[in-house]
C-alpha cells in the first residue's frame, strides 16, 4: 500500500523510545525516500495523546494500556499494536512522619490521586488486594504535581504518584514508597487509528520497525538515554536515572497475552471503582483494541 502524504506521530517524556527516535530522526530517515512529511506532536499525558488520535490529529500515538482501554470504551477508534516499554511508573507514597507502612494503614486516611490514570487504577487494585474499597479511604482528586504538593503540605496522608514527579519526591523529600507492584502498571503501548491502520498497514509496520531500532539503541546506551531524558525534560539526571534504570523495562515489544491480562484486570478494577460503566464488556472491548498482527513477528529483547 502507498505511504501517506503526512505522518503524525507523538513523542512524550514518558515514552523514552520516542525521545530516541525523534532525537536521531529515525522516522525521517526511514520515510525520506517516500516524500512523507513527518509531524511530531508532544503528548503531555495519555489522555492528550488519545484525544489527538480521536480527533485525527495524530496517526500513531503512545499511551498507557489502561488509558487506551478507557479511550476505546468511550468510542475512540484505535488499535493498540505495539509495546514500547513496561514501566513501573506508579507507586503509593507517603511522608515519613505519617506512620503509614502498608496499604492496610490507609483505612480512614486521605489519598491524593488523579482520576482515570494509571495511579488511580493502581490505587484501587492495591486497596482491593488488602480488602479495602474506595469507601474506606478518602480520595482527594488532584493533578499529579498538585498531589505531591498536597502531600508535602500535609493536606493528604498519601499519594498515588507518577514518575518523574514520584522520583523527584523520593529524591528530594524522602517520600516513602510504601507500596510498589510492577504488575499493576499497564504497559506503554503504541496506538494507531483504525482507519489509518486499514489504509496504510505498511506504514504502521515501518514505524514499528523504527521503534524497534530506537528501543535497541536505548537498551544498548542506558547512560545516553538518561542524559537524553534529563536534557529534554529538564529534570535532574538523578531523577531521570531512577525512573529509567530502576523502573522501566524496555525489553518488550510484541503486544499479546500478557498485556491483555494486565489491562483486563485494570479494566475490571475501573469497573468496580465506577469509572467504567458496569454494563461495559471489558473483555470484548479489549479484543477489539489489541491487534497483535503488526508486531507478532518481532523477536524479543
Amino acid at each position: 500500500a502507498d505511504a501517506p502524504k503526512e505522518l503524525k506521530l507523538d513523542w512524550a517524556y514518558w515514552n523514552p523510545v520516542s525521545l530516541v527516535i525523534k532525537d536521531q530522526k529515525l522516522i525521517e530517515k526511514e520515510f525520506e525516500k517516500d516524500g512523507v512529511n513527518v509531524r511530531w506532536v508532544q503528548s503531555a499525558g495519555s489522555n492528550k495523546a488519545l484525544e489527538f488520535l480521536n480527533a485525527g490529529s495524530l496517526d500513531i500515538g503512545s499511551s498507557a494500556g489502561s488509558a487506551a482501554l478507557l479511550g476505546k470504551i468511550h468510542g475512540n477508534p484505535i488499535k493498540s499494536v505495539y509495546v514500547y516499554s513496561r514501566p513501573e511508573w506508579t507507586a503509593l507514597v507517603t511522608r515519613p512522619d505519617t506512620g503509614i507502612k502498608s496499604v492496610a494503614d490507609l483505612k480512614g486516611k486521605s489519598v491524593a490521586v488523579t482520576r482515570g490514570t494509571d495511579p488511580h487504577i493502581f490505587l484501587i487494585r492495591a486497596l482491593a488486594d488488602h480488602g479495602l474499597t474506595e469507601k474506606d479511604v478518602k480520595f482527594v482528586l488532584l493533578q499529579h504535581a498538585d498531589g505531591r504538593a498536597a502531600l508535602s503540605r500535609g493536606d493528604v496522608d498519601a499519594w498515588a504518584g507518577l514518575d518523574p514527579i514520584l522520583a523527584s519526591a523520593e529524591l528530594e523529600e524522602n517520600a516513602v514508597l510504601f507500596f510498589r507492584k510492577p504488575d499493576y502498571n499497564t504497559w506503554g503501548v503504541l496506538n494507531v487509528r483504525e482507519d489509518f491502520a486499514a489504509r496504510h498497514p505498511d506504514t504502521v509496520k515501518r514505524v514499528i520497525k523504527v521503534y524497534e531500532q530506537g528501543r535497541q539503541w536505548a537498551l544498548a546506551n542506558p547512560d545516553k538515554l538518561v542524559a537524553l531524558l534529563a536534557t529534554q525534560a529538564k529534570i535532574p539526571e538523578a531523577v531521570a536515572r531512577k525512573q529509567l534504570t530502576e523502573r522501566t523495562e524496555l525489553t518488550h515489544n510484541a503486544i499479546g497475552r500478557p498485556q491483555y491480562d494486565t489491562i483486563l484486570a485494570a479494566g475490571e478494577a475501573l469497573k468496580q471503582a465506577g469509572v467504567v460503566d458496569a454494563k461495559v464488556d471489558v473483555a470484548g472491548t479489549l479484543d477489539a483494541l489489541i491487534d497483535p498482527s503488526f508486531s507478532s513477528g518481532l523477536a524479543g529483547t
Binding site: 468511550h74 482520576r115 482528586l141 488532584l142 504538593a149
Partner: protein, 274 residues
C-alpha cells in the same frame, strides 16, 4: 434608509402593530441554539455528520438526563454554583475597593496598578500550585481562585471608568466638598455605574471560567470536575454536557445580574434600553 429594527429607527410608538408586539415577547434568543441543535441532530441522524466526537443533542440530553437521575448533575451544579457565588462576592468587593483606591489616588495607582496589570495576564491554571501552597486544597483555595478571576475585570472596569468620568460631574462633588469614601459613594460609583455593572458581568464570566482551574484542586464534584473527568477519561458526551451546563448557568446568572441591575440604570438617558 434605515430599517425599523435599528438603533436609529424611531422608538416603538403607539403605532406598533399587534404582530410586532407579539414578536417582541418571543424568546428569540432560543432560536439560534435550537436551530443549531436541530441541524446537528438531523445531520447526524441522516448520516451526513459523524456524531462520535460531538454527540447529537439527543445523546447529550440523554447524558444530562442520566446525570440528573440520582441528582448527580444537580450536586455538581450546586457545588459549582456555591463556589462561584462566594468567589464572585469576594472578587467584586476586592476589585471594587482596589479599583476605587487606584482610581481615586494617583499615588496608589502608580504603586499598585503596574503589578496588578501584570498579574491580570496570568492564566488561571498557573495559580493552581501557588494557591494550593497558600490555601491548601480545600474550599478556601477554590473560592480564592474564583475570586481572583472575578477581581481583575472588576478592578480594571472600576479604575478605567473612574479615570474617564466627566470632570463636570466630579466638580459637583467637589463643591459638596466630598472626598474619600463620600466622593466614591455619592459621585464616582453612580457615575461609573453602567461601566461598573458591565465589569461585574465580565467578572462573573471569568468566575465561571476559573471554576475549572479551581476544581483542578482536589474537587470531587462540580461542573469543572465533570469537564475534567470527561476530558481525562475521554468521554465526549460528558464534556459537551458540561459545556452546555456552563453556558446555561452562565447565561442564567448573567441574565439575573443584568436584570437585577437594570432598575439601577433607570435614570440613563440612552437612545433605547438594552
Amino acid at each position: 434608509m434605515s430599517t425599523t429594527d435599528t438603533l436609529i429607527a424611531p422608538p416603538p410608538a403607539a403605532r406598533t402593530p399587534l404582530s410586532r408586539r407579539w414578536l417582541a415577547r418571543l424568546p428569540l434568543g432560543l432560536v439560534l441554539p435550537v436551530v443549531l441543535a436541530l441541524g446537528w441532530e438531523l445531520a447526524v441522524q441522516s448520516g451526513l455528520a459523524d456524531g462520535r466526537l460531538v454527540a447529537p443533542p439527543s445523546r447529550i440530553l440523554a447524558t444530562l438526563w442520566a446525570l440528573s437521575e440520582g441528582f448527580e448533575l444537580w450536586r455538581h451544579v450546586q457545588a459549582t454554583l456555591a463556589r462561584v457565588a462566594v468567589g464572585f462576592l469576594l472578587g467584586v468587593v476586592a476589585g471594587t475597593l482596589a479599583g476605587a483606591l487606584t482610581g481615586y489616588s494617583p499615588l496608589a495607582r502608580r504603586i499598585l496598578d503596574p503589578s496588578l496589570q501584570g498579574l491580570r495576564a496570568v492564566p488561571s491554571i498557573a495559580w493552581v500550585p501557588l494557591f494550593i501552597l497558600w490555601f491548601g486544597i480545600f474550599e478556601e483555595s477554590k473560592i480564592a481562585l474564583i475570586a481572583v478571576g472575578v477581581f481583575f475585570p472588576v478592578y480594571l472596569g472600576v479604575l478605567g471608568a473612574i479615570v474617564s468620568i466627566d470632570r463636570k460631574i466630579i466638580e459637583v462633588g467637589r463643591v459638596a466638598r466630598l472626598s474619600g469614601a463620600g466622593l466614591f459613594r455619592r459621585i464616582l460609583l453612580p457615575a461609573i455605574l453602567p461601566a461598573y455593572l458591565l465589569s461585574l458581568r465580565s467578572g462573573l464570566g471569568l468566575g465561571w471560567m476559573f471554576v475549572v482551574a479551581a476544581e483542578f484542586m482536589g474537587a470531587s464534584e462540580g461542573l469543572g470536575y465533570l469537564l475534567l473527568d470527561g476530558q481525562q477519561l475521554g468521554k465526549p458526551d460528558q464534556i459537551v454536557a458540561a459545556i452546555i451546563a456552563f453556558a446555561v448557568l452562565g447565561k442564567l446568572t448573567d441574565g439575573l445580574l443584568a436584570g437585577a441591575s437594570a432598575p439601577l440604570l433607570a435614570w440613563q438617558d440612552t437612545y433605547r434600553k438594552p
